[in-house]
């Protein structure tokens, strides 16, 4: 019996060895096939580069799943060069969040988890390009720069090099509810200056018995972002730092002009206190409590999506100006930045994709029409040819037949220069916003708030880190 068992064991061992050899041989045959088929870039039928199998990972704010629809369709049209490439998008709450995540991955050396592309604003471009995490696209962009609106890459240029491909340049606008203004006898044309805007607010308050407010004020950090950094501050020519990075906010006349105007609106009770981007503000607006919004063009997406009862009652005009300065709203630029993932295998493919999105008039217009149906986000293009197309003058039902697309383009006229952005601005935003929030809570005057901003910046930042 033991002899029989040994023979059986020996036979099983021999079978196992055979199986192992067969598996190894199969694997050896398959490895080159799979490597050649999926990971190494080759040449396509027309001689163009074929991109390896994989995903182009994009991190972006503002519901990027809608953008994915266009990008995926582009890849489907280019299966000859990207047979097995797909788009993956990760939605970010804020651009700062993307910046944080990217820095953390890079810090831990995890370059495999980095996205190929990240959407950034100026602060992010400055910070991440300084850290060497973004690809320089100067040579690529300069060859095609004449096709795009002037200044499209002004805010993604650091020390003369371009680190972001422009996605949108969106103006500051003034949205107003036509029936409300009509009811209280206010001519929207009068709101072309901030004095007129203030007078409109006073009239609304008096004539409505305090029921209707000129606009909103958020008790948190949205106030600094929308009323301050992107709104009144650049329009008043305000500065946090001078050109050497010294802190000047406490003595800067532009800051006083901007923040004292806001103080006037707030202390006279012309602003309805509610949280931005949350249900109560939409409820208040739909119930006719808020008559206007002085905010960026992106707000139109939120209005279309969240306001139902007042749809069709809104119109839009250029942001008011300070007579003393005479400049319109400052545009907010966003960029698609190519991350330096060390392999950068999809860099050229993404450039093609970006270029197609910006210049393929028919497909872009079709995508925008789809976005309107789906209440999805879209912005005006940055290509001159596309902007000149009649599609971008078409009326918008939400704006009572007015063309929002045209208004967005018009809003870029006579722009204010954006505030200087340094690597210390993320911290400055937190410090300044905290003082503004205490002011809104009624715990300090605006004069005290400005002095506190200056004091705290000098204590914590000392001097801005210039790019």
């Amino acid at each position: 019996m033991p002899g029989k068992q040994e023979a059986e064991l020996s036979a099983r061992e021999s079978d196992m060895k055979k199986t192992l050899v067969a598996l190894l041989l199969t694997a050896a045959l398959l490895v080159p096939l799979s490597a050649g088929g999926s990971k190494e870039a080759g040449k396509g039928p027309g001689g163009s580069k074929v991109y390896p199998e994989g995903d182009i990972l994009i991190w972006a704010t503002g519901q990027p799943q809608f953008r994915k629809m266009y990008y995926q369709a582009f890849l489907d049209r280019h299966r000859d060069i990207a047979p097995k490439v797909n788009i993956e998008v990760v939605s970010l709450k804020t651009m700062a969040e993307g910046q944080q995540k990217l820095a953390m991955y890079a810090l831990s050396g995890d370059y495999k988890s980095l996205p190929e592309v990240i959407m950034l604003d100026t602060v992010g471009v400055v910070e991440l390009s300084t850290a060497g995490l973004l690809q320089d696209v100067t040579d690529y962009y300069n060859k095609i720069a004449d096709q795009f609106v002037d200044g499209a890459v002004a805010d993604s240029t650091v020390k003369g090099r371009i680190f972001g491909l422009p996605d949108a340049v969106r103006p500051q606008l003034l949205y107003y509810n036509v029936p409300i203004l009509k009811k209280y006898g206010i001519d929207p044309a009068g709101m072309s200056t901030f004095d007129g805007y203030y007078q409109a607010g006073r009239q609304l308050k008096e004539k409505s018995g305090g029921e209707v407010f000129l606009s909103y004020v958020d008790p948190g950090n949205w106030t600094w972002r929308y009323w301050g950094r992107r709104g009144l501050m650049p329009q008043a020519g305000a500065r946090i730092w001078d050109d050497q990075g010294n802190i000047v906010i406490g003595s800067d006349p532009g800051t006083k002009l901007a923040l004292n105007f806001f103080d006037k609106l707030n202390t006279e009770g012309l602003l309805y206190k509610t949280r931005m981007m949350q249900q109560p503000i939409y409820e208040a607006t739909d119930s006719g409590k808020i008559a206007t919004f002085y905010i960026g063009a992106h707000w139109a997406e939120f209005m279309r999506k969240n306001l139902t009862r007042t749809a069709g009652e809104w119109r839009v005009m250029n942001a008011p100006v300070f007579k003393e300065v005479g400049k319109g709203g400052a545009p907010v630029s966003t960029f698609f930045c190519l991350v330096d993932t060390k392999t950068n295998e999809y860099t050229e493919l993404f450039k093609m994709l970006w270029y197609d999105f910006q210049t393929n008039i028919d497909l872009r217009n079709a995508w925008v029409a789809e976005m309107e149906k789906l209440k999805g986000p879209y912005s005006n293009p940055v290509s001159k040819a596309m902007l000149a197309h009649p599609f971008w003058q078409e009326p918008s039902p939400f704006f009572d037949g007015q063309s929002f697309r045209k208004a967005e383009g018009d809003g870029l006229a006579n722009p204010s220069k954006n505030m200087m952005v340094t690597a210390s601005d993320a911290e400055a935003d937190i410090i300044i916003s905290a003082e503004l929030e205490k002011y809104i809570a009624g715990e300090q005057s605006m004069t005290q708030a400005i002095a506190a901003m200056d004091r705290e910046l000098k204590l914590k930042v000392k001097k801005a880190k210039l790019p």
């Binding site: 850290a131 208040a284 929030e437 715990e443 914590k460």
Partner: protein, 289 residues
């Protein structure tokens, strides 16, 4: 030594995974944090040694003192409210007179399984100054509208309410398990001896729950000092309801002052260690440990 190693190598091998993980994911990061706290570092370049600068700045930073004060408020109110309410609910769930026990146990636990971020958003709406349900009720009762999240004086209240509401179920279950472990015989004997409900509670229930309550107190302490989601979502003006943990995150990942954030975390570690040691010392003096 070699003999002892040979004799115990298998037991050492069995407990080694914990120590390896502890070393890699806890001890080394703590030591690294201590080093970073003496540097200025944005996470990308090389850390620059700045000595005690971060600690000196902390002493002047009102946001740090605000956050410290807020966290102490969260800690003290959290321990008191959570222990009291969790005990009351656990006693009710343990009462022989309660009907539909399963239903009540399930519903009691529900807040704990709700996502804190989602609940935070809902609480934000409930506590909205102008359109919130809480103020609508107050107004209907003839009371004033309270600026819950728009005045520093009130901003901590919604945070405490949300935090305690979410976490009470967990401690209720722990205390309930403790109550279920107390033998009925003690109560029967006490009843025979003429002890009333209150006497039974103070002489039987509380003393026999003391170990579990101590555990709960320690856990709540750690939870409150690590509180993040609630004040982050229900943010009040400035740093009026910011927690220390939240401030640490803000400095580390929003402004990339990793040196300063590390200094804050060192302070947090020292505070938590001190509190835990103090609690153990008190218990030891009382002969409980």
């Amino acid at each position: 030594m070699t003999g002892a190693w040979k004799k115990y190598r298998i037991p050492y091998l069995f407990i080694s995974p914990f120590f390896v993980l502890f070393l890699v994911f806890q001890l080394i990061p703590v030591v690294w944090t201590l080093y970073i706290s003496f540097t200025e570092w944005n996470g990308l370049g090389k850390p620059v040694w700045v000595g005690w600068d971060n600690y000196r700045l902390m002493a002047q930073d009102y946001m740090v003192s605000d956050a410290l004060r807020n966290t102490v408020v969260y800690w003290i109110s959290g321990v008191a409210i959570i222990l009291l309410l969790a005990l009351l609910i656990a006693l009710s769930l343990n009462s022989p007179r309660l009907r539909f026990k399963r239903f009540f146990k399930t519903t009691t636990f529900l807040p704990y399984v709700c996502a804190s971020v989602a609940m935070g958003l809902i609480f934000g709406m409930l506590f909205d100054e102008n359109a919130g349900l809480i103020n609508e009720i107050l107004a209907a009762l003839g009371g004033p509208r309270v600026p819950w999240l728009t005045k520093s004086a009130f901003a901590k209240i919604p945070v405490v309410i949300l935090f305690t509401w979410r976490i009470i179920p967990w401690f209720t279950i722990i205390l309930l398990s403790g109550l279920l472990n107390i033998s009925r015989e003690y109560y029967e004997a006490a009843t025979v001896d003429g002890a009333g409900t209150w006497r039974q509670f103070f002489s039987i229930t509380l003393p026999l729950l003391r170990h579990i309550m101590f555990f709960c107190m320690l856990t709540i302490t750690v939870d409150t000092w690590k509180m993040f989601n609630e004040p982050y979502i229900l943010a009040g003006p400035g740093s009026s309801n910011t927690s220390l943990f939240q401030l640490m995150y803000q400095y580390a990942f929003q402004t990339f002052k990793l040196g300063y954030a590390s200094a804050l975390s060192v302070i947090l570690i020292v505070i938590l260690l001190s509190i835990s040691v103090a609690q153990f010392v008190i218990r030891r003096r009382q002969g409980e440990v």
